[in-house]
Symmetry: C2
Subunit: 105 residues, 2 copies
DNA sequence: CCTACTGTTCGAGTTACATCGAACGGTCAC
DNA sequence: GTGACCGTTCGATGTAACTCGAACAGTAGG
């Protein structure tokens, strides 16, 4: 098949393809902003750990937010055993938009 | 009437009521971001002057963007004779979200 | 294997936002 | 006053995003 259909590895945009407007939009949702702050202070977390901070958000909704953040270039989402590790792309973001992350945290 | 119906003076949110998520959302549109950059570099402008930078945007659409930015607390829109003066609320924003504006400009 | 577990994807319903022409409101010039 | 001018508001339309349950995919353990 030409297209990748497995859900194993998800696509992450290259640093050069990360657009400021997309980043700002991704951060403009309270749930997502809160999650970014969690990752910034606590470091990489599993999805389940992230969800503890947002107990009222169903997992499909939460997964949607993770997708938005990932496609905007804010986080990485990598398989780790049966779970997945969510991490902030801080070095990338600091390189591309210096000071931005610091100012929203 | 109880409600203000005149279009003469428009409502601007108090500094304390300006929310980060609203600011980020307002900045997440390319046209609006461009306008903020114009105001930051060129200083206060009339609406007509702002529109020169975005020649393909109809004036009603442009006015909508101005409303979004104003309600988010990013700009002031004040009458000035027959025209209106659009200005960046830079001091307010720097006080409430230090470094944010600098990082997006 | 087969089951339980973690998290994504699909699909449908709802809501919010963008866009733009037309109508309106206020101001200045004459 | 009245006509031109600058800009907002209204109303209608299309589109994108949010929400969430149900179904699915990959992994580890017994």
């Amino acid at each position: 098949m030409a297209a990748t259909t497995t859900t194993r590895t998800l696509h992450h945009p290259d640093l050069d393809d990360v657009e400021l407007t997309s980043v700002l939009f991704a951060l403009s949702d309270p749930t997502r902003l809160e999650l970014i702050r969690l990752l910034a202070t606590e470091g990489p977390q599993t999805v389940a750990q992230c969800q503890i901070a947002e107990p009222d958000v169903p997992k499909s909704t939460f997964s949607h937010h993770l997708k938005t953040l990932r496609e905007a270039g804010l986080i990485r989402n990598e398989p780790s055993g049966r779970q997945r590790t969510i991490s902030l792309r801080r070095a990338d973001l600091d390189a591309r938009f210096p000071g931005l992350l610091d100012s929203v945290l």
